[in-house]
């Protein structure tokens, strides 16, 4: 009898171990502990109306030979901040209630789904927040974070030569010590840090945030 149970457990483990879900982000494999940077695209619908489109990634693909139960837990890593809308894993969209939520689905062999998680903000609002994601597929568990970042340019008018110690120099921006961040004019993060120095950048207009002050600088 003991041998039968041992064989049964081994068979179950083998069956379950065949469950293989690949997680990719921008075509690259997601590993345990990764932080995925999610930034939106500004879409102009005409008439001066714009919306933010967030990526659907990361993508979950069942690369195994049997159906796999996929269990995904999302936990907000902040208390004050925007709501998170979850439209992936299952087929309904709704904001996460509370600080954490779990969704479960079954992926057939070759089947795929996406996380499709994003903050509920308008193009005139900014965001810099993180959520933790724990994925369980069969016996496999993987955890990573998603970092949502977007800098609105609303209220930042005109170009200036210098702001709060940051100034445009030939080929880049000279930045002071202290927290700073550089964004494109459509809100995408280019660089952030706290050390003083010059950040080399392609020619163009950038939004520079030093502390709580934001302005536009032109890099020639």
């Amino acid at each position: 009898m003991k041998k039968i149970f041992t064989l049964l457990f081994a068979a179950m483990a083998l069956f379950t171990a065949k469950a293989q879900v690949n997680i990719t982000f921008n075509g690259q494999t997601v590993n345990n502990g990764d932080v995925l940077e999610l930034q939106p695209t500004l879409l102009d619908l005409g008439g001066g109306y714009t919306i933010l489109e967030w990526p659907f990634d990361p993508t979950f693909t069942n690369a195994g030979s049997s159906a796999t139960n996929l269990n995904v837990v999302v936990t907000k890593d902040y208390t004050d901040g925007p709501g998170l809308n979850w439209c992936g894993i299952t087929t309904d969209c709704m904001p996460i209630s509370g600080s954490s939520e779990t969704r479960t689905t079954t992926l057939q062999p070759g089947g795929m789904t996406t996380l499709h998680l994003y903050p509920l903000i308008e193009p005139t609002e900014s965001v810099d927040c993180t959520a933790s994601v724990q994925v369980m597929a069969g016996l496999n568990v993987l955890s990573f974070k998603v970092h949502f970042v977007y800098q609105s340019t609303a209220g930042i008018d005109g170009l200036t030569a210098e702001t709060a110690g940051a100034k445009a120099v030939e080929g880049g921006i000279a930045l002071p010590a202290g927290p700073w961040a550089v964004y494109t004019v459509d809100g995408r993060l280019v660089a952030k840090g706290s050390d003083a120095g010059t950040k080399l950048l392609p020619r163009g207009i950038y939004v520079v945030k030093c502390g709580t002050t934001s302005q536009k600088l032109l890099v020639d």
């Binding site: 039968i4 879409l43 619908l45 005409g46 109306y49 439209c87 087929t91 309904d92 969209c93 709704m94």
Partner: protein, 267 residues
């Protein structure tokens, strides 16, 4: 390990009892009898242009309309909530917010079938619709629209006739088909040329309609006049009229195009 003979014999006996019967090839399938809907069914489809799964719900509606007939499955797309776009860029209306609050819509897409059973995910709609199609309608509804293109004035006559008699609220809505605009697709792609059909535009006789009561054989006729918004295309619009109450849901619903040859525009 030896398996007792008794267990083997029992297993063999059990196998004989569950053996398959021989069935002639011509008798292996039982044909489904033709199904004729007895009443029409209303689907309030709570949707949004930024809802990537909402096109799937629309496809479910199209499949049901093909299966049961467009006149029997009357769908209205109610754009509202955080995944909708406000006018003029989008299709959301202030009235939608009232319906969303009334039904407690929290996820999208969600639907209410014949104003019964609360909100349901689109995967459950077909079964709910099929059940309601088989019910006897308590009233008949006839809608006669008359549109003056020069003034954009629409006159609507709605006649409600009791079959078994009923009381409830008569709601008269305007919907529009063939609206090209933005829609986020299930694939994550943005479709700027998506064709939106059966879009809720306005509640002609108020958000919650008005009281109506008809005895068997009696007819109640109400007339309404409304001016179409400049952005609406009358040739693509239709009147949706339904009688409902809190106990029985929608007793009957009809859809009447403003134009004689109006139909839903295909993508």
């Amino acid at each position: 390990m030896k398996i007792p003979l008794t267990y083997l014999c029992t297993a063999a006996l059990a196998l004989t009892l569950i053996a398959c019967d021989e069935v002639d090839e011509g008798e292996r399938f039982e044909p489904v009898e033709d199904f004729t809907p007895r009443k029409n069914v209303l689907i309030e489809d709570f949707t949004g242009q930024r809802c990537n799964n909402c096109p799937r719900a629309t496809n479910t509606i199209a499949a049901m309309q093909q299966l049961f007939g467009e006149e029997h499955v009357v769908a209205v797309g109610i754009h509202g909530g955080p995944l909708s776009l406000p006018a003029p860029a989008g299709l959301a209306t202030p009235t939608a917010a009232e319906y969303i609050a009334r039904w407690g819509v929290e996820s999208y897409p969600s639907g209410v079938i014949d104003r019964t059973g609360g909100t349901q995910l689109y995967t459950a709609w077909t079964a709910a619709v099929l059940e309601r199609l088989q019910m006897e309608p308590a009233v008949d509804i006839s809608v006669t629209p008359a549109y003056d293109a020069a003034t954009r004035s629409l006159s609507i006559s709605v006649a409600t006739t009791g079959r078994t008699g009923a009381a409830g609220q008569l709601s008269v809505w305007l919907v529009e088909n063939g609206i090209t605009g933005y829609q986020l697709m299930p694939t994550g792609q943005s479709n700027l040329q998506y064709v939106h059909n059966h879009v809720f535009r306005t509640a002609v006789n108020g958000t919650w309609g008005e009281d109506v009561a008809v005895a068997p054989g009696a007819t109640d006729t109400k007339t309404y006049t409304v001016t179409l918004d400049a952005a609406w295309k009358a040739e693509n619009m239709a009147v949706v009229a339904f009688v409902s109450n809190d106990q029985e849901g929608v007793l009957q619903v009809v859809q009447q195009p403003l134009a004689a040859n109006n139909s839903e525009t295909q993508e």
